[in-house]
Subunit: 290 residues, 2 copies
């Protein structure tokens, strides 16, 4: 059904997790309902499936507004010769999900991904005498509860996970902090033309000398280029040296961006453009701007 | 034995993990053999034990040269009103450890912390038909093997863990990459006088305007202050705004450092000095300098 024909088939988009994962929600928000989301066991598998041509795109979480960066994906962006071709923000709101017919009072155990459990600490503390157990995945937890058929166990996952597995929502918006957003990046084999309202992601390394990072940042600051994110990751084999990942507002097709990057190349020891892509305004910012 | 009297007792130093953990090795390297290392379940417990006065110091891993920063400890440094009073570098070298009398050929399963397993991937691939199972802790894995008494199971942990649990080393230096170092910080209730060869750690936040981080870095660069590490963590409740953690070479007692920090305070929205402490030269750097 999803593959219509070779030229007009549904786009296949790899994501990490089971059906019903937040990453799958980001896939549908970004590509629309006609997309074919492809579940993968690990982030590595997402990159592999895109590289080998099994999937057209991959949707990878890169940063959460409460938990911080997903460093594994930064490392994989460097390891694979793929391009960042888009970004997607998603509001993360957790539900407590149990067997149809059960009720909040009957729950004796709650399972979920450790990060989701940590984000619902206050709600969980309000449930008296309930055991907490970490599992590998949010949606995977819902699937486990369904398979066990145990009315005393509930999972924390998305509204969509409850729908997909035809399970009951016992409580919703149970997260301690509602300012819970994840930024995803879309990866593909080929780069795209980013248009005018664009962001660009790069990675580079520098000589291990005082002031070099300041110099690198000056190539952007002196051209009024707005850096939205800086992240450092270890340079394997060279203790206490780093790869720096920078996201900034601007298109790679803009001459100002091009001059900034050629300036950076003059003194960086390595530089790669990970991608230049249409900017996605997160809802939280759109709301403030209204 | 360890508590001699109230004024001359052994220093109690909290660390995360079981006896034989790499963190405990860092404790002994830093304070000497007369110290009393106090095992803790979590990093949170380490901070708590120091704050409540149960321990004199805490030893926390802050960064590994292969895996990157330990972000939980950055967050805890901000949450607790403690001071960084020292640093310690440790070379991490893994051993395969089994029951006394067993041999490498008889091993059918290897357990360890996921990070240690990942660091020994090539060695593990060379063992044919062996199951890999993640456990919570490296030294804890050795303890588990001992308690099970199973000669077909081995754990990956430190040389010291094998000695402590009186177990056999089946293979040593099994890590894929020998450039494997962890930097630890020592925390205490009171700050110290750092001496002349010092480092200082600070955390600050900035207005969410283009160029602000560049401006923050300029207060150091224009005074030739060498930044050794920059790390960003999410500012909870303000999506896509950050706390920046910076380590730099210099003592808080040096007027140049004081001028840089008062300059930073002019435009930062928050700033805290986490500590100024004697610098520890990592062995890898000492070796190069010889």
């Amino acid at each position: 059904m999803s593959i219509l024909n070779s030229s007009n088939r549904a786009k296949r988009v790899a994501f990490q997790g089971e059906h019903g994962a937040y990453s799958e929600e980001a896939v549908i928000e970004h590509f629309g309902e006609t997309v074919e989301p492809v579940p993968c066991e690990s982030f590595d598998n997402v990159f592999e499936k895109v590289q080998e041509g099994n999937c057209d795109y991959g949707m990878i979480p890169i940063e959460n507004s409460l938990a911080g960066s997903i460093h594994r994906n930064y490392d994989l962006l460097l390891q694979f010769p793929l391009s960042v071709v888009g970004e997607q923000y998603l509001r993360i709101s957790h539900c407590l999900i149990g067997m149809p017919g059960t009720s909040l009072e009957r729950i004796k155990k709650v399972i979920s991904h450790p990060q989701a459990l940590a984000q619902c600490e206050r709600f969980l503390a309000s449930l008296k005498g309930v055991d907490i157990e970490p599992v590998y995945d949010t949606a995977g937890g819902v699937k486990m509860v369904k398979n066990m058929g145990n009315e005393a166990i509930a999972a924390i996952a998305s509204h969509r996970a409850a729908q997909i597995y035809e399970m009951a929502i016992l409580a919703k918006e149970i997260e301690d902090n509602p300012a819970n957003f994840t930024r995803f990046q879309v990866i593909a084999r080929e780069s795209v033309s980013p248009g005018n309202d664009a962001k660009t992601s790069i990675v580079f390394s520098l000589n291990n000398r005082p002031g070099e990072l300041y110099r690198a940042m000056s190539v952007f600051a002196l051209r009024n280029i707005d850096l939205t994110k800086i992240e450092s990751r270890p340079l394997i084999g060279k203790p206490w040296e780093y790869f720096f990942y920078i996201d900034f507002v601007g298109s790679i097709e803009d001459p100002i961006t091009q001059r900034a990057l050629s300036n950076l190349q003059e003194f960086s020891t390595f530089m790669r453009i990970l991608g230049s892509y249409p900017r996605h305004q997160p809802r939280v910012q759109r709301k403030e701007a209204e």
